[in-house]
Symmetry: C3
Subunit: 259 residues, 3 copies
């Protein structure tokens, strides 16, 4: 472990109350020098699909040994398990409720464990603070995973997957702050097909573009975004407020006729 | 003082402008290695009651020697005093306008001082940056309290208190991001009374529950939340948008008939 | 360079997605101990004027050697240049699209360079993560500016300036979270004129005041705010929701008749 561990936080707590700071108080209580990085706390309450997509983005960019604490936990207090997953030499701690799904889809294979450690005292409504944060601190301090958890092979996964090789269809999975729509279509599925034309929910978006300035302001376009997924955008505007699309809508990829 | 001091920030500044960063620039100017932790900056403008409740939650969970800087300061530029309070070996710096109230109620006795130190130059509208943040940095650097402040015994307190032992009534004091209502009824007031039934603003909420999954989705419940207070919630939903309750509404606790 | 570099971040990314954390992952990847300070991520999408004003406030208060990374970049992927500016011994990295304007106006002269360094691989839509953040990390690590950039003298500047000495007019440039309107009228333009009366969009605001409590609650006032600019406010209220003013509205300063 490096001297200064990085611990990221992804929750649906919002920044209005003290709940995020409660997690940080536990982490800093044991690891005074940790680098705590907020991924987002604006996951819609209980939205496991959005939380799952955000969490994968954190794992995609942080260095080895990073610990990711993700708490979107509508089942807190029930018998749902708590998961520790290992991926790219990073560790993720989150409820076993599907939050790990998009990480499992984009970075297979991942290694999964059930957190068996429990504190002597815990609330019934805030396991993020009382169970997951102390476990994250223990792991960030170099505590062995085996002392806290046991291997499992059946983490709960949501019904979402990357579009398969050779597929001509996908769908919208996320809408970002700029109104860009991310799809489940990975870059390598379209990279070798320069003549593709893209349709979204039945409307023509045009050929695959490289960047926003390839079309005039206000025009829609399809391009490979910074998450290495096909995205539907509007130059200098918001696809979300212009195109009438929604998460779940179908994306079609067709070979264009010869030019 | 530990090598890496923790300084928390609680304000009504929001994160839209540069005001929070202005506080941090002062703190980091003297304490390059400090751990700065945002509690929240979303206190509604000038809302001393909400700010007071949030600040108490910070003091409840952070370790000794933490410095808490809290700036909800509608009277900035007037003759209102600036307070330094000591509680659980932590120090709080805030305007003397009632912000310390909920801390004083839940963690009595607290020790209170008036900040007498003033900088050579100060704006008339941002004492958080010009007076309170430099004082917080001085204290976090190990500066003696006596050189900056004098003891006082009459801090301003808001008209809010914990429900007294033996009481059968309380009221709603805060609504969180999930739409949970926190009350002024402490856990120890209900812990020994397993047959209690709870009413909120005249509506029956049912018996005291342990956790959300004790009721079906969409149903209201009363339970002891993570702040060790009685809370009114809706499982997998928002009590705020479902039950028609508001801060200030009355909570009644009645012994249920024998089962 | 000090052992713990400070790097600030100003963007229009919002905190909803993972984009801010993506910048931080790059910075912490090379500088594990850096102090990362969010100025704001709530610049309205593509709003270069607002972004420019916020960025100047960061430069005004942070210590020498701070690195400021500012990404409001509607032209990403086009041929727009990337700027490195030096001001008060601090360095700013941002797109060359006018974001540097308000810094150039309030802290002349600034030194400007074009970032010529490019990574081996970059997305077409997120140069903040792929180009600017690595450059910021290199500079914060003590990398020489000359190895990354070449001097230029023609940075793009927006059509906004401080009211000139002797001027009797200015305009509103920014509205903050409290509903205070900041103007382009610097403190030193009004400091020596105690008999000024202020009009905003044709309405009388009254004489220049020192602080909010100089007028009754709910009343408008003009005063020098914490940014050393003339501001239009309402005591214990919001000028934005009360006075019907907007960014761009004219401010007039007239000598009042003898009292």
């Amino acid at each position: 472990m490096p001297d200064v561990p990085i611990i990221t936080l992804t929750t649906d707590f919002d920044l209005t109350d003290w709940y995020v700071a409660s997690l940080k108080s536990v982490l800093l209580g044991s690891l005074r020098q940790a680098q705590l990085v907020d991924i987002t706390h604006a996951v819609p309450p209980g939205d496991l699909l959005s939380g799952s997509i955000v969490l994968e983005r954190a794992i995609a960019v942080f260095p080895p040994a990073t610990i990711h604490l993700a708490v979107v936990d509508p089942g807190v207090g029930s018998s749902r398990r708590i998961l520790i997953a290992r991926c790219h030499e990073q560790l993720i701690i989150c409820p076993d409720n599907g939050l790990i799904t998009w990480t499992a889809r984009r970075h297979p294979p991942i290694e999964t464990h059930e957190l068996t450690w429990r504190p002597q005292k815990s609330s019934h409504t805030f396991h993020g603070r009382d169970i997951m944060a102390p476990a994250a601190a223990a792991l960030a301090s170099g505590g062995p995973l085996a002392s806290l958890a046991r291997p499992i092979s059946d983490p709960i996964l949501l019904d979402i997957a990357l579009a398969a090789a050779g597929s001509t269809r996908g769908h919208i999975i996320y809408c970002d702050r700029f109104g860009n729509f991310l799809t489940n279509i990975p870059a390598d599925l379209v990279a070798a097909r320069p003549n593709l034309c893209i349709r979204a929910a039945g409307s023509d978006i045009g050929p695959l573009r490289q960047t926003y300035s390839d079309v005039p302001p206000g025009q829609p376009l399809a391009l490979i975004g910074s998450s290495d997924l096909l995205e539907i955008s509007v130059r200098d505007g918001s696809a979300a407020s212009t195109l009438g699309l929604n998460v779940g809508d179908e994306i079609e990829m067709m070979e264009a006729p010869h030019k």
